[in-house]
């Protein structure tokens, strides 16, 4: 943006952050009154409620303390409802990667076929058009009923939501391969298989990678909701569990981690995408 002052943008980011934290701090400042209820009841409902505070909304300091707790001990396991945030995130990432990986295994070959054959494209198009707009969570009851395993059902939901962008992008990328390049392969009598792997795949790779990047983004969005439904483990379950505990500080920490992991996933796919991009 500004070549002479590269530090300007980060500085501005810091200012925005400081303003946000400041407003947050002012907005959540608790007026400390005296305890007006029975001490035992006060312990039960929490300090804020006991002193007449209006909300359990934590301030930035509370969240920072919680965040530090999570970061300093991310992998503890004290039973079903008390696991470190690292373990929960690990479960979510594993589900996303498995579901996304399976979807890639199906979508890329199928997309290839659709992209290469206008007949198959026309035959499958109505199904894709109907199935694509379905919210992945709508599949959840059906998955639970047929699969009878909540963990695998969550993976299925991830699978189904990652499928479409990859499928459509692969088909599009393959269909849009320059005719000239295919003609080169034909005049050189390159076999169909070699043409598929050495001409069509590299030519369509940037488009396919874009589809994968969209897919992984959607998968990461959906996993939180899916885990809220299936429960047990995962960052989605963690958020829902902390909602039941009314631990807003934990929820805010989890939200931050969800954002960070999502960013890492997106950046990784973007980097892979750049690696297969070619300049004409």
């Amino acid at each position: 943006m500004n070549a002479k002052r590269p530090w300007l943008a980060p500085l501005l980011s810091l200012v925005f952050f400081a303003v946000f934290v400041g407003l947050w701090h002012l907005g959540t400042k608790q007026t400390v009154g005296e305890v007006i209820v029975d001490p035992e009841y006060a312990a039960l409902i929490g300090a804020a409620a006991a002193t007449g505070g209006q909300s359990a909304m934590p301030g930035p300091v509370d969240v920072a303390v919680k965040l530090w707790e999570h970061i300093s001990d991310p992998f503890y396991d004290r039973g079903t409802n008390d696991k470190g945030i690292g373990i929960q995130l690990g479960h979510s990432i594993a589900r996303v990667l498995v579901g996304f990986g399976l979807a890639a295994l199906v979508a890329i070959p199928l997309g290839f076929v659709i992209g290469m054959s206008p007949l198959v494209y026309k035959a499958l198009d109505p199904f894709i058009q109907v199935l694509k707009p379905i919210s992945p969570l709508a599949w959840m009851p059906l998955a639970l009923y047929t699969i009878k395993d909540s963990g695998i059902s969550a993976i299925f939901v991830i699978f189904i939501c990652s499928l479409w962008p990859m499928l459509i992008n692969t088909a599009f990328g393959v269909a849009a391969v320059r005719k000239d390049w295919l003609n080169v392969a034909r005049t050189l009598e390159v076999s169909r298989l070699r043409t598929a792997f050495q001409v069509i795949l590299p030519a369509a790779a940037p488009t396919i990678m874009t589809g994968m990047r969209i897919s992984v983004g959607i998968a990461w969005l959906v996993i939180v909701a899916a885990e809220m439904l299936v429960g047990g483990t995962g960052i989605g379950y963690f958020v829902w569990n902390e909602w039941n505990n009314l631990s807003i500080a934990n929820i805010i920490s989890a939200i931050l981690f969800i954002g960070l992991i999502g960013m890492v996933l997106d950046n990784t796919l973007a980097r892979l995408g750049r690696a297969v991009t070619y300049k004409e």
């Binding site: 320059r178 003609n183 080169v184 005049t187």
Partner: protein
């Protein structure tokens, strides 16, 4: 009629017309032959189906009618026997120069070791002066260099015949001249049989042994075949000193500007599509004598009356 190395007989291309209307015939009744080692150019206005003819020869397109026989066998589908240099170079942009050439070489000689393939490909890239750009991607090359890679790729598979679809159309005049010289040198050294489409009259005269003139489409046909009656070792720097050059050039330009339209629709009277007239402008046997435009007459007046010093090669 003796059998040519490449024999095109009764080629036609028609596209189905709109409902209830007649088919659209781009060209029909195309007959011609190319001998081994011959360089043939085809000139005609856009839309006369030159590229379609080339694609049929390449096996990339199918004619509606007619046959193409090369080396005693009918052409069916693309083959390594016919190398193609595409108009837009058609290099694979994710591969380096060397890998682009190797791509074809590996297909031509599947049994070769990686080292053999690399040596062979390098040799052909050095031939077109790209020995120092082996590991560059096409995007790092200039337009002329890209087209050179395309030429190297086509030559490297040692095809029986080379098909060039306006290979220099997108290049600037200076680059075009240089590559024309290079192509001329390579073709003369390898005796490659070549069929080339061009829009450039000078390019055709410089490179070709025979120039086929196509009339305008629809119903395009080969109006006549012009023999380039100048010695084969002509070069770009001296060719325009040959009085024959302007006679041929004027004949071609006159055809493109005036006469190509006359062939549209009904066949010109007395035109035999099977044996289009062979014309040798400025020499005996040529029916047409094209008057030179006034502004050129003064330039070449001193040469005009001198008989052509060159002995045309035996023909027809």
């Amino acid at each position: 009629m003796t059998q040519h190395f490449l024999q095109v007989e009764g080629l036609a291309k028609r596209f189905p017309g709109p409902k209830g209307k007649d088919d659209l015939t781009v060209f029909e009744n195309i007959h011609f032959g190319i001998d081994k080692g011959e360089f043939v150019c085809i000139i005609g206005h856009s839309g006369c189906g030159k590229t379609t003819i080339l694609n049929v020869l390449a096996g990339l397109d199918e004619a509606s009618d007619g046959t193409v026989i090369m080396d005693g066998k009918e052409i069916y589908g693309p083959s390594l026997d016919r190398g193609v240099v595409f108009q837009g170079h058609a290099l694979l942009p994710w591969l380096t120069t060397l890998k682009n050439v190797e791509f074809g070489v590996r297909s031509r000689w599947p049994g070769w070791s990686a080292q053999q393939i690399e040596e062979h490909s390098t040799k052909y890239l050095e031939m077109v002066g790209l020995g120092s750009a082996l590991h560059k991607k096409p995007s790092e090359l200039s337009g002329g260099m890209k087209q050179r890679v395309g030429i190297a790729r086509a030559f490297a598979i040692q095809p029986k015949m080379l098909l060039l679809d306006e290979p220099f159309g997108a290049l600037d005049a200076l680059t075009r001249g240089t590559i024309q010289d290079e192509l001329l040198g390579i073709v003369q050294a390898t005796h490659q049989t070549v069929f080339m489409i061009t829009h450039d009259v000078d390019e055709a005269i410089l490179l070709a042994d025979k120039i086929m003139l196509m009339s305008n489409g629809p119903y395009a046909k080969i109006a006549e075949i012009v023999e380039v009656t100048m010695p084969r070792d002509r070069t770009r720097s001296t060719i325009h000193h040959d009085p024959q050059y302007y006679r041929i050039r004027n004949h071609l330009v006159d055809f493109l500007v005036n006469r190509s339209k006359d062939f549209a629709g009904a066949a010109a009277a007395g035109h035999d599509a099977r044996h289009p007239p062979v014309v040798r402008p400025g020499l005996e046997g040529s029916a047409e004598v094209v008057p030179m435009p006034a502004h050129l007459q003064s330039l070449s007046a001193k040469d005009a009356d001198r008989p052509a010093p060159l002995v045309s090669k035996a023909s027809a």
